[in-house]
Amino acid sequence: MKTEGVFSKSMLWVGLGFLYIPILSMVFFSFNNSRLVTVWDSANSPTLKWYGKLFGDRQILSAAWLSIQVAACTATGAVVLGTLAGLVLSRFGPFRGRAFLQGLTTAPLVMPEVITGLSMLLLFVSLEQLFTHWFGWQFDRGFATITIAHITFTMAYVTVVVQSRLASFDDSLEEAALDLGARPAKVFFRITVPLILPAILSGWLLAFTLSWDDLVVTQFVSGPGSNTLPMVIFSRVRLGVSPVVNALATIMVLVVALGVVLSAFLMRRQEQRRKREEQMAAAG
């Protein structure tokens, strides 16, 4: 038991180092003066030069703005569809086509992105042909097509999160409300939604992050002129390392770290409050 514990503990620390050293090195070298990212120019560093360059970079800023818009729309759409799918799968009992729906919702989780991207693009091309043929209406690929594609592969994640949350408690509260005469829609908004709110929120954040981060699917379904942030980063990184990208990465890491720590803190406080209330209820 003892040796085993030592081995797995040390592997844990090795693994954590493996996970964090690259990120920390990226942060570290964003303050480097030299254009050669990894050669530390100790005479003129640390410097905020690359941060200045980053905020003057029109291409990156407009791409980031587009990415934020896409990610926010995606997350909202994915939450609506994913919550409905999760509700249907865990609460509506057996109905015709249930297994098929379950398959459809979990398949995007593991589908290689190139396949999703290619198939979505071919769908949009076919729709384009159809629309121009029948209605004489042409649409451009861009914001809308990216968002639809992102919703499709992110809603699977929301569904899984919501479904597993719904599975963690039984439907007696909902049944009670129905018995008391509340209509199903009201039960959903008054009982179910508040209960699964944490799952919905984390689903939203998950969908936002996945959309914000996606490169492959976006490359397929975006049109000319609509470049998201990952596309811009990818095209720069391909040419080699760039200190501006390091600065951008540092900001993103910082935002995520703050967000995660904050949410962990809030969740912990809520947990404590709940425990206290339970204790008081038990005592009273």
């Binding site: 085993e4 996970l19 090195s25 599975a167 005469g181 199903p184 981060d213 990952p230 995660v260």
Partner: protein, 335 residues
């Protein structure tokens, strides 16, 4: 009180059902409330919305890919393939299916080597992920509950930061004048010349293990955490050493977690695009790169579609197995 009873059938401000409403429910139309619940038309609507979305934007696209994979490539057309279905003037439907793209997949050496290389990379990355991830998950599951959440948070945190940027971080570490070479060559003098690590299979393995490690650890952890400690104690009471009790008790019990984690790494690794294009060999393609080159550079949509269909067929068994496990997990949670 008076106003409450006049306001029929409703509940008072405390949410209690008014007596008359109860009366109606008992003596009114038969099984009135059940009727509302069971045959509520809104229910069908609620099912239909996500269903339709997934059918239109997930299933139909695959049928289109399947169709185009059998089409004939016409380099100058817009879109660059001949229609598969065509109405002839005599009112007949002409269907023209070519299997040329598929034949090409299995005969062209470039393609065959890309398939084998992708499978090899995915397989060994999964093994490496397991070798690193299992002890990590085990250590987390064995640590005191207060530490567990922090450790889990540390595992999940990189997952929330950009995947692309995390792969990019390795470019800075692995390149010839990168950090690793500086440490090994300049500072420690362990190697005689800077190691060439960029654009090698080694870099791809590093990238995949690095990016997918959380996917391996989390299912393993959620499995290992549930283990009953008394089993291990029993094994030890019966004289099994730590290694034996691990091999005979813990490892077999954690098999579902191993399968789920391995599939979560293996399946996306086969179709990985970003990591090999940033870190990988330039002389050896992986399937995903092949697909996107065929599509964007050669504009050969039928061949790209055939690659996609072949990849899907290859992955369909692992995907089904994964879904099996996913469903089991959800069922287990329900109990």
């Amino acid at each position: 009180m008076k106003s409450a009873s006049r306001n029929l059938p409703s509940r008072d401000s405390y949410g209690r059902v008014s007596p008359l409403w109860l009366f109606l429910m008992r003596y009114g139309p038969p099984r009135w409330s059940e009727y509302v619940v069971k045959n509520w038309t809104g229910q069908r609507l609620v099912i239909a919305v996500p269903y339709l979305w997934l059918l239109i934007f997930f299933l139909v696209p695959f049928l289109i890919v399947l169709k185009i994979s059998f089409a004939e490539f016409s380099p100058l057309g817009r879109p660059p393939y001949e229609p598969v279905f065509r109405w002839l003037e005599e009112g007949a439907l002409q269907i023209k299916l070519l299997i040329g793209s598929y034949v090409y997949l299995f005969n062209e050496p470039l393609y065959v080597s890309a398939w084998f290389y992708s499978l090899k990379v995915a397989f060994f990355s999964t093994v490496f992920c397991l070798m690193l991830g299992y002890p990590m998950a085990y250590a987390i599951a064995r640590s005191p509950p207060t530490q567990r959440n922090v450790l889990l948070l540390l595992i999940i945190l990189p997952f929330w930061t950009s995947f692309l940027l995390r792969v990019y971080a390795w470019v800075g570490l692995l390149k010839t004048d990168g950090l690793i070479n500086q440490v090994l060559f300049k500072w420690l003098g362990l190697v005689d010349e800077p190691l060439a690590m960029m654009n090698t299979s080694f870099a791809v393995y590093i990238g995949i293990v690095y990016s997918y490690l959380p996917f391996m650890i989390l299912p393993l952890y959620s499995n290992l955490e549930k283990h009953d400690n008394t089993l291990l104690e029993a094994a030890q009471d019966l004289g099994a050493g730590p290694i034996k009790s691990f091999l005979r008790v813990t490892l077999p019990l954690s098999f579902p977690g191993v399968v789920a984690g391995s599939l979560l790494v293996f399946i996306p690794a086969v179709g990985e695009y970003v990591i090999p294009s940033l870190l990988g060999r330039t002389d050896q393609l992986m399937v995903a790169k092949l697909l996107s080159d065929e599509f964007f550079l050669n504009r050969d949509w039928p061949k790209a579609s055939a690659v996609a269909i072949a990849m899907l067929l290859l992955l369909v068994v692992p995907i089904m197995v994964f879904q099996r496990f996913q469903n089991k997990e959800l069922q287990a949670q329900k109990k």
